[in-house]
Symmetry: C2
Subunit: 586 residues, 2 copies
């Protein structure tokens, strides 16, 4: 049943599962579980959900991904950017903290799961490619800034809301007088500690002789230490009575069975956000999965990944969670801790289940400021504005797309930002192809190679104009070519032949075919012959289904060299050192 195995990868790796794999997976699971507890609570806070939802969103989704996903190291659960997008989407339909808000989160996860599944089943994973690398980089950077800004309120012990930078900063400014000093001290200490763990501890452990992999894991346990210490501090000194916001009572329960509401208005309001969350989540997850797979020479199947992530999100929808995806930091810990198969994820789920059942009373006094500190330190590592410099140096079109993405994400919000980035990238690409580069070419002496007359020392024949169009010919540039050729030939008295060198023409659509017919007609009126050279197989197949080749006044040459040799007659043969025959197949 190879086809069933393809769609349910567990049947593949499950057959060879042995004792070594079990041990490795168990060790990784324990480490990841410990690290995931504060991270899950923190991202629930970011998404505006109750803390237990963060644990729930990490249990069933992990198991389902283990069954359907193809990556052996990917850890699925709440991640920063998707949690931010979740908060932005839900903020439009319900009040954060309300029952409707948590219910809408189930619908959002369910919609996203259904979309991911559909994209996977219909093999539409390539759609994610329309998010260009710079747009993704810009979006993640801008999201990181917004996430950090949205957590400042927890460090100050005030309330503020908004999903864009101006809203957030304005609200913070207005609430600033309400700042709680105890919270500030606690939050600042936690933030400073976590920054030190990330930037100072790891080199220290390294110098102390710890292997780099262990040092990495120890550094990643920093948030756990911060949680333990600050929770103890609140409990010991009764800081909650002095205004320090704490997580409070969390139900002791395994993930509940929940049914996402499916009201038409709710689904309509959440449709576009769910689509954007699905695509961003997929792109983030697959790039993590591919990075990790490349290290072990494994291959990731993007369409199967969509199915795995879809199943995970449906799992979140039916077990009290919110949208999830494969996260970078949790996956890297999983990988570094030695996870060998997706079973490691399942064991992690068991660990988190135990935590949800037994450990929740212990986090009653956990200050929200600590969770905010872990978020801020985590997301600031995502912020990297160097993409602006790199695109500026390399391509202004990419720069325009990335700037628009960053600006709109910061000022208007995540959905506007990512949509603008995609639309602008596509529009700029279309604009460029609508005004293609066109070069007049001549023969590089001593070769059969033809290059731009403005860039290379080449040989040309005044009776033969050879034009290389550097783009597929389609509706957007058909008229451009027509104008170019006709403008170029007018008044060029010695001209007898025009050759279109089609080495860069990968398609000729019907609009362009009609333009070529028009060019052919107009050149014939002027007594000029039109020829084509280096037409590719698929393009030629199509031309043969039209009348164009019968109407063409000139010929179609296999190579530009054959065209030049034939059309220039004796003169060209003189210039050509080898004096070979034109290809008989031309």
């Amino acid at each position: 049943m190879p086809s069933l195995r393809r769609h349910v990868p567990i049947l593949d790796w499950g057959r060879t599962y042995d004792r070594t794999a079990l041990t490795n997976d168990m060790v990784a699971a324990v480490i990841v579980t410990i690290m995931l507890i504060p991270q899950s609570l923190a991202y629930a806070l970011l998404a505006g959900m109750p803390p237990e939802a963060g644990l729930y969103a990490s249990i069933l989704p992990i198991i389902l991904y283990a069954v359907f996903g193809t990556s052996r190291a990917l850890a699925v659960g709440p991640v920063a950017v998707v949690s931010l997008m979740t908060a932005a989407a839900l903020g439009q339909v319900a009040e954060a903290g309300s029952v409707g808000y948590a219910a809408a989160a189930l619908t959002l996860a369910g919609l996203s799961g259904a979309m991911l599944l559909a994209l996977g089943v219909f093999r539409l994973g390539f759609l994610a490619n329309f998010l260009s690398h710079p747009v993704i980089a810009g979006f993640i950077t801008a999201s990181g800034v917004i996430i950090a800004a949205s957590q400042i309120k927890h460090l100050l012990g005030i309330t503020a809301s908004g999903h864009s930078l101006p809203e957030l900063l304005g609200d913070l400014w207005r609430q600033l007088p309400e700042t709680n000093p105890y919270t500030v001290v606690l939050g600042a200490a936690a933030t400073a500690f976590l920054f030190w763990v990330r930037n100072g501890l790891k080199p220290l452990l390294g110098r102390a002789g710890l292997p780099p992999r262990m040092a990495d894991i120890a550094a990643k346990a920093g948030p756990v230490a911060a949680v333990l210490v600050t929770t103890a501090a609140v409990w010991l000194f009764g800081l909650d009575a002095r205004g320090v916001a704490i997580v409070g009572a969390v139900p002791q329960s395994l993930p509940p069975f929940t049914l996402p509401p499916v009201g038409l208005d709710l689904v309509r309001a959440l449709f576009l956000p769910a689509l954007l969350i699905s695509i961003i989540g997929f792109v983030e997850s697959i790039s993590v999965a591919q990075t990790l797979a490349a290290k072990k020479r494994q291959r990731i199947n993007p369409d199967q990944e969509l199915i795995g992530l879809g199943a995970a999100n449906l799992g979140a929808a039916f077990s009290g969670g919110f949208p999830v995806t494969g996260g970078f930091s949790r996956s890297v810990v999983n990988y570094d801790a030695g996870a060998q198969t997706p079973a490691a994820g399942a064991y992690t789920a068991v660990g988190l289940g135990i935590a949800a059942l037994a450990l929740t009373p212990l986090i009653h006094f956990l200050p929200k400021a600590t969770l905010a500190a872990t978020i801020i330190v985590a997301v600031l590592s995502l912020v990297d504005f160097s993409i602006l410099r790199r695109t500026w140096d390399y391509s202004r079109a990419d720069f325009a797309a990335v700037s628009a993405t960053i600006l709109l994400t910061l000022i208007v919000g995540v959905e506007a930002g990512v949509s603008a980035g995609v639309i602008l990238s596509i529009a700029l690409h279309l604009y460029k192809t609508s005004r293609p580069h066109i070069a007049e070419v001549g023969q590089v002496p001593g070769t059969e190679h033809f290059r731009n007359i403005n860039r290379h020392d080449v040989v040309t024949d005044p009776a033969v104009l050879t034009v290389r169009i550097d783009e597929s010919l389609y509706f957007a540039n058909a008229r451009f070519l027509e104008d170019y050729i006709l403008d170029r030939v007018i008044g060029d008295e010695g001209l007898r032949h025009v050759v279109l060198m089609c080495s860069a023409v990968n398609e000729i659509d019907l609009s362009a075919l009609e333009s070529l017919e028009e060019i052919n007609r107009r050149l014939a009126d002027m007594g000029l012959k039109l020829h084509l050279s280096e037409v590719k197989g698929p393009v030629m197949d199509r031309l043969e289904r039209s009348h164009f080749l019968q109407d063409l006044t000139g010929r179609v040459f296999l190579s530009q060299y054959a065209a030049a040799k034939e059309l220039s007659g004796g003169a060209a043969a003189c210039r050509d050192g080898a004096g070979r025959e034109a290809d008989p197949a031309a």
Copy 2:
């Protein structure tokens, strides 16, 4: 002042205006005026406007176009497709025949004029190229069907409404019992007569010895004869008392000065329709202008045409009209009648002004059925479903775009149809470029030319894989290339070199550059070198601004022949008859 002359072409042709030109223009103007009267009334009826609006829309716009437009033969005024789109747009904001309806028409014309002007000033005329030829052909065909269907009610003497085929036919079916027999007889006679004039009279006149141009003009006067005869019939037999709908009282007046209302809600509701009307009107007008200009070897400046049409529509907005553009039939008559300069248009405007002042009482008894008959006969010549067959034979993508355009125009409406056509064409183009054709190539024996190993008998070296990517490399296909190359090289043991032949690569954006870097790294891990060949000048310029060329494990060759010669070493030199040196510039 060449720059002022460029923007006000009248300063150019006006300087050489002489007596011959004056005579020719006057003769053409008389002929066109006579033909335009029934046509203007009919298109006003189609647009749901009072009859005099059709005359008004032909007066000031013609004069303004004569000043700002570049075509010497184009006649501007109400045309069928734009009138249909006007009716569809206005139907959404007001009741046909109401005061608000006529006022909204001014706003629509004003918006369209402002948009056309802006597109012209910012040189955005190329945007119209995104309407592919098949989409335009399909849209005009479907519009013709809807226009004809919308006029059947006038032939039957019933009332019916709707802007899509199902609505129109359903309404007609329900109202059928109300049919007025006198109207049917009159309408059928007029329709039959006009069809005969178009298809039967012209050959007859030709056989009678009339020169073809005169026969053409005489045939085009058919509607005038139909108007005269049926108006007389209604007046003589008192048919209006028997239920035949007539044009009725029309004010005797020159075009009034009107101010288009600019309420925010109205402008918002009409914005998208105005944009579509502008683009469709521009495309229709410029294709007519270019067809006529080509016959006289004149050139049309598209951006200046936008300014001319913009001025004409602003004129319509301030003189009681509705959206106008350059029409095919009126322009052809103008051309055939011998118009030599845009002044012919100005004289036509004078003629129509006289008609609006003096002749309107004469059309009191003109039956609407006659106007409907002239519309039906005119638009059925636009209907040509052969575009479906042509696209089906040539390109399935074009076929999909044109089918969607036709279906949606017929079933949903003009705006949905043309939008779907544009969006689908672009989406299919992007889809194709996201999965480019990739060919492995080898050397055509006895040449320096390299072609697809599956289509040609070529020579290859097992140690060198040469891959030609038939598309620019950009975000949508960057990952596709990465997957293709890595899948292809895995398990190919004898391989040492991979050459990307970039003759069809017209751009490498930052996403694709990162993919190339990844391919380079992964191939290096496998002990393979990556080379490029035939990289174009503009692409190379950009690569030189990045780190890629420093990191590249292999080299960049000027020609594929140079690459093959160098990488295959002695073996290739043996196969190559001439044994030339690789190009030193590579």
